[in-house]
Symmetry: C2
Subunit: 200 residues, 2 copies
């Protein structure tokens, strides 16, 4: 009974979060990121400003911050749960494969975010910062598992390959290149770690 209440409360929170994100992305796309206020986002999602700030620390945070927080947290836990004896490169590949996004609603939101970046390139810094955070996380994991410093070329290159595969897949996918996001990302990671193949 208590479990059900908590579950319902969690669902409600998730619902509010998604409503705020949807409202923000809609307003950013229509009116521009700079022109949109937190007040307008809250109003469009039917909540108070105070509620907005319970979920997001700033306007920028709605744009990518949640993705960062949420995904960085999940990835960190997933990496740490891999067996210690496993080749760290395999651990990274497995965790990335398992965390590929397939939920249509989540994919639609990612597409809306990327469209916003294409239309308003001054926002690219926000995206790059999130992407960098993911890279650092992977770099530290590989270094730790290999017993190497995080500035050793090996963890730096493996994490750079992971990040670059994500980046390349996102840009190609958002621009409508054939293939789903997950397939593009897997192919990119394979090529960047095992050798880029020339185009057919």
């Amino acid at each position: 009974m208590v479990g059900q209440v908590i579950n319902r409360r969690e669902q409600q929170k998730q619902h509010t979060r998604v409503a705020l994100e949807d409202a923000a992305l809609r307003l950013f796309a229509h009116n521009g990121y700079e022109q949109t206020t937190v007040e307008e986002i809250a109003a469009a999602a039917g909540v108070s400003m105070r509620t907005f700030f319970r979920y997001f620390s700033s306007k920028q945070h709605v744009l990518f911050g949640d993705v960062a927080h949420h995904r960085v947290g999940l990835l960190r836990a997933a990496l740490q749960s891999r067996p210690v004896g496993e080749d760290p490169l395999d651990s990274v590949r497995i965790v990335l494969d398992e965390s590929d996004i397939t939920d249509p609603d989540e994919l639609a939101q990612i597409r809306a975010r990327l469209q916003l970046l294409f239309d308003q390139p001054q926002l690219i810094g926000t995206y790059l910062t999130v992407s960098h955070e993911l890279r650092q996380l992977i770099c530290e994991f590989v270094a730790q598992r290999c017993g190497l410093p995080p500035v050793h070329p090996y963890p730096l290159l493996v994490s750079a390959a992971a990040q670059a595969a994500w980046d390349a897949a996102l840009w190609a996918w958002a621009a409508g290149v054939d293939g789903d996001l997950s397939r593009l990302r897997r192919a990119g990671f394979a090529e960047l770690t095992m050798g880029i193949r020339p185009p057919a």
Copy 2:
């Protein structure tokens, strides 16, 4: 005679630019980036604020903007001058190899910039934006030479590998990993395009 005058004027301009960059990096490191004003940078370099703004559009621009402007321009010209029939991946490798920085003064300035990023990680966005610009330039070149759209996975992966090799080399080098910057960058690009080798 006219040529000599222009040459002397160019040298003087280059001298002022370097003096402003050196002063800025010194002040950023000692007093913090946020705390340093354009007025202080100009004074430390012995020039007026008006002169500062003839060289740089903003404080952020001194931090990495010049590197971006200068290097992006050089790289673009170098790439365009490669023969059309050449494998674009070779063109990228050759141009990057030829543009490797070996001048000790320039290397010292790069090291100072990176040290600033380590000490004041909130500045990472500036670096990432420059790095992204270089990637885009390479991506567009490879796409154009291959007759592919710039969102095709191949140009995206080649340019991502080039950028990631730079990033990884810079971090490793700035942190004191053995090997010079140029060797680290070349090794990184080779691994990211031909296959990452596990650490020895």
